[in-house]
C-alpha cells in the first residue's frame, strides 16, 4: 500500500502578518512558515495506517522556508520517504499550480491513497486535496476523521455539521482530505528529529513551474472590522470587576 501525503507550509499566524507594498500579498520578509496543522493530522493518520497494516508513506513538500524541518519531523514520526519539490517558486504557488505539479508526479508514480489536510488557512483558490483529485480524476472525500483500509478500498468517517458523521466506502486509489487524525498529534523530541536529519534520505525533485490555469489577483488588507470589541483596560482585578458589572447589566447574573 503506497500512501502519499502532500503538505503545505503556511504563514505562521502567531507572527504579525505584514502586507506587501503593492497590497497584493503578504510580505515574505516578515513571514515565518510552519506546516499546515491539518497536514500534520494527515501525516499522523498516514503513520497510524502504516503501523496498523503496513504501508509505504511518502511526504511531499514544496522547497520553501520550513520545508526541511517539516520533512525531517515527518521522518522522525515514521514516514518512509521525503520528497522536496524544487524549482523557481519564489513568487509562491497557488493551490491549482501546486496540485498540478503533484498530479504530474503522481501520474508517473501512482499512489494507492493520497492524504492531505482538508484545508489550509491560505487556501484562496480551493483546497489542495479536492483540486488534486480533480486533476487525477480520482474520488475525493473531505472532512475525514477516521480511515480504515482493505486491499482495494478505504472505509472513512466523514464529518457533517452538528456532530453527524457518515461512513463512506471509497474505492482505491483515492484522495482524502483529513480533518483530524484518529489520535492526537504525536510530540517528537528534537533528538529524534536531529537523528532523522542524519539518517533520512530527502529526495529533491526538480520540476518546471506549471503556471496555474487562472490566477486570482486582487488586493489584500488587514481584517479590521468597524464593529470591534470594546477592549477592557486595567489590571486583573479591575477587568474582572468590570466583567462582573457587564454580566449584571446583561442579566447574566
Amino acid at each position: 500500500m503506497k500512501i502519499v501525503v502532500p503538505v503545505k507550509l503556511v504563514p505562521d499566524l502567531v507572527e504579525e502578518l505584514v502586507i506587501n507594498d503593492q497590497g497584493t500579498g503578504l510580505d515574505p520578509m516578515w513571514l515565518r512558515y510552519k506546516l499546515n496543522e491539518l497536514d500534520e493530522h494527515a501525516i499522523e493518520q498516514a503513520v497510524l495506517l502504516k503501523e496498523r497494516a503496513g504501508a509505504h508513506v511518502t511526504v511531499i513538500a514544496l522547497d520553501i522556508d520550513g520545508a526541511d524541518d517539516a520533512l525531517f519531523t515527518a521522518s522522525a514520526k515514521g514516514v518512509d520517504q521525503l520528497v522536496k519539490l524544487c524549482g523557481d517558486f519564489e513568487q509562491g504557488l497557488n493551490n491549482h499550480a501546486l496540485a498540478g505539479l503533484i498530479a504530474k508526479l503522481l501520474r508517473q508514480a501512482p499512489a494507492d491513497l493520497v492524504l492531505t489536510g482538508v484545508q489550509a488557512h491560505n487556501d484562496l483558490d480551493g483546497a489542495l486535496g479536492a483540486l488534486l483529485a480533480g486533476f487525477l480524476k480520482l474520488p475525493y472525500v473531505g472532512y475525514v476523521s477516521g480511515v480504515s483500509l482493505s486491499n482495494d478500498s478505504a472505509l472513512v468517517r466523514k464529518e457533517y455539521p452538528g456532530g453527524l458523521m457518515a461512513e463512506i466506502e471509497v474505492s482505491l486509489p483515492a484522495v482524502l482530505g483529513i480533518q483530524a487524525a484518529e489520535r492526537p498529534l504525536s510530540y517528537i523530541a528534537f533528538s529524534r528529529i536531529r537523528q532523522a536529519m542524519k539518517t533520512a534520505t530527502l529526495k529533491e525533485q526538480f520540476l518546471p513551474q506549471v503556471p496555474p490555469a487562472v490566477q486570482v489577483v486582487g488586493r489584500m488588507y488587514k481584517s479590521e472590522s468597524g464593529a470591534r470589541a470594546m477592549m477592557l483596560q486595567g489590571d486583573v482585578d479591575t477587568v474582572a470587576a468590570r466583567l462582573v458589572e457587564i454580566f449584571r447589566e446583561a442579566g447574566v447574573l
Binding site: 504563514p11 502567531v14 504579525e16 502578518l17 503578504l26 493530522h41 491549482h96 496540485a99 488557512h121 491560505n122 487556501d123 484562496l124 483558490d125 480551493g126 483546497a127 486535496g129 479536492a130 488534486l132 480533480g134 486533476f135 475525493y140 472525500v141 473531505g142 472532512y143 472505509l155 466523514k158 455539521p161 456532530g163 461512513e167 463512506i168 466506502e169 471509497v170 474505492s171 480533518q179 483530524a180 492526537p184 498529534l185 490555469a213 487562472v214 486570482v216 486582487g218 489584500m220 488588507y221 488587514k222 481584517s223 472590522s225 470589541a229 470594546m230 477592549m231 477592557l232 486583573v236 482585578d237 477587568v239 474582572a240 466583567l243 462582573v244 454580566f247 446583561a250 442579566g251 447574566v252
Partner: protein
Amino acid sequence: MNQDIFILIEHLRGQVADISYVMLAAGRALAHAADGRVTAILLGHNSQALANELTADQVWYMDHPSLADFNPEIYQQALEPLLTQHAPRLMLFGDTSIGAEVAGPLSSRLGLPLVSYCRSISTQDGTLKFVSQVCGGKILFEGELPGPTALATMMPGVYKPEAGHSAQPPHITLLEAPAFTEPRLRLRRYIEPEIGDVDISKEAMLVAVGRGIQNEDNLQLAQELADALGGVVCSSRPVVDQGWLPASRLVGKSGKHVKPKLYLALGISGAPEHVEAIADAEMIVAVNSDPDAPIFNLAKYGSTLDLFELVPVLTEQLQQISSAVAH
C-alpha cells in the same frame, strides 16, 4: 457576458442547510445589480418540496435515486454538463463538507477559476468582485472574479439566511438526469452525534476554551468559572482533537452551533470555522493575548490580559457574589 448565477442548494436528510439560504441572499443582492438571474440547483430524490422556500428566479430540480444522499461524484456528473452548456457568470457552493467537495474537483476538471472562503460578492462598474477571508480571519482579500465563468465557495457571516427564504414557492423546472456512471464512493450509513452529558446548543452560559488553554490540566480553571456562572464548558477544535473534551462539547463547523446569552471565549483566536457557530450568541466576551485575534471582530468586550491570571480572579469575584446572595 452571461450574468446568471447558479447556486448549489445543500441539503442533508431532508433539511436545507442554512448556507444555502446565505448563498441565495447573496445571489439575490447581486443579480438585481448585475441584471442576471439566480438559478438554484437542487439535486435529490423525492426532494422537490425542499425548493418551496428558496429565493431564486428559478429552481432547476433534478430527481434520481442516485441523488438520494450526497455523493460528490454523482453531483459532479450532474453539474458538469450544466456548467459547460449554460456557462453562468458565477456558481456558488457552500464552503462546507458538501460544497467544497464538489467545487474543487469541478474547478480542476473543467479549468474554471475557483475562489474560496468567500464572504461577499458585489458588482462594481460592471465587474464582479469578491471578498474572501483568509489566514484564520486576519486578512481579507478583495478581487475580481475571473470570467467568463467562475466558481466560489461561500462562508456565512455577511448575508443573513432569512434574506434567502421566500414566502412564495419559486418556479421549478425539472431537469433530466444524465446516465450516471457507477460512483467509486458509496454511503454506508450515518452515525448520529454522540449524546453527551449536556447539549451545549441549549445552554445559556458557555465558557469556551481554545488552544490558549494550553493543556488538559488547565481546563479546571474554565470549569470553576463555568460553575461560578452556572454555565458549561465547551471548546473549539484543537481541544477536542487533543482528547481533552468530548466531541459533544465542540463548537464549530463540524460541531454545534450555539446561541447562548453569554459566550466567554478563553484563548480562542476566532477562526472562521469557529465563529460561524457563535454568530447568534447574545453577548461574546473574548480573552486572548493576541490583540489582532479575529475573535475581537465579533466580541462585544475583550481583554488581552493573561487568561491564567484573569480567570481565577473573575471566578473568585463571582463566587463571592454567590456567597453574599446565599446569605
